[in-house]
Assembly symmetry: none
């Protein structure tokens, strides 16, 4: 088994045993544990924990710095999940994006407010920088995907919270 696969499995194990659906890790610590270069951790993250896989990554440098990996679980039967996987893809023209956004909003998957934020991000006005049109389509897809993941993540967090409340209620 390749080292990268081992590290991937290890991190996924960490995530699945964590309470929340995210973990915090130290790059150097992990690298030392697996006797590899620290940058290998980045390689694993950038090839196996991408937004396309449903992961979002945040990190901080400096003393006490760390890497946070958040797994946004989507069920294959989920409508939003389907849209993200099948419709967003790696490329999204502006008309495509607008249509998708309207549909998402109409179906109630994305609120008016969130739709407005995404619309602002993918608008031609925002993307009016001198780069090839094809690059903008890629960028639009990335923006759309990451922002939709954020929406799903929030929905899940709210769901967890309300579930916790119900459990708390039952205990009483």
């Amino acid at each position: 088994m390749r080292l990268s696969d081992t590290i991937e499995t290890f991190i996924k194990e960490m995530i699945s045993t964590a309470e929340e659906n995210g973990v915090e890790l130290r790059r150097n610590e992990l690298a030392e544990y697996f006797h590899c270069a620290p940058s290998q951790i980045n390689y694993v993250l950038s090839t196996r924990f991408t937004p396309e896989h449903g992961y979002m990554i945040e990190s901080r440098r400096g003393g006490g710095g760390c890497i946070r990996i958040i797994h946004v679980q989507t069920s294959p039967t989920d409508h939003l999940d389907y849209l993200i996987r099948e419709r967003v893809g790696t490329c999204l023209t502006e008309p495509e994006a607008r249509l998708l956004l309207r549909q998402l909003n109409a179906s109630g998957a994305v609120s008016e407010a969130d739709a407005a934020m995404i619309a602002a991000a993918i608008s031609p006005q925002t993307l009016s920088v001198p780069i090839p049109e094809a690059m903008k389509d890629i960028l639009r897809a990335k923006l759309m995907r990451n922002m939709l993941l954020t929406v799903i993540r929030r929905t899940q967090a709210e769901h967890r919270q309300s579930t916790a409340l119900i459990i708390q209620e039952r205990k009483r």
Copy 2:
């Protein structure tokens, strides 16, 4: 947890439990309490209690000297206006953008949910396309500006609505 974060939390705790919305503290005393260099207190103040965070700081040297920290609350919309004009500009590096976002959220100008959406849009993960770094900074500024404007528009719409409601109430 970082020492700076611990000190930050400690001071915020002090402020929130204080009668007024400000506190007075002794730099050397605090430094001794946390077993750190006195200048670390300055570091915490200058990175976490700036005017942009909504804090004002006064100090007096010499015998009986002290540092006074006052938490000032401005209207979130005004704050947003100011930040869009003064801080966003046409260029925004990733650390700059993240800092700004943290401040906006801390001051209550931007909700947690909106901040998360913006964070997703300006993240390195989203902007990982092969264009010059300078172009990304421009893009980041555009994203930030247009998304913040969206937040303002929504806030104002809500305000109009609630005002209309009040007027309606009065008419009855």
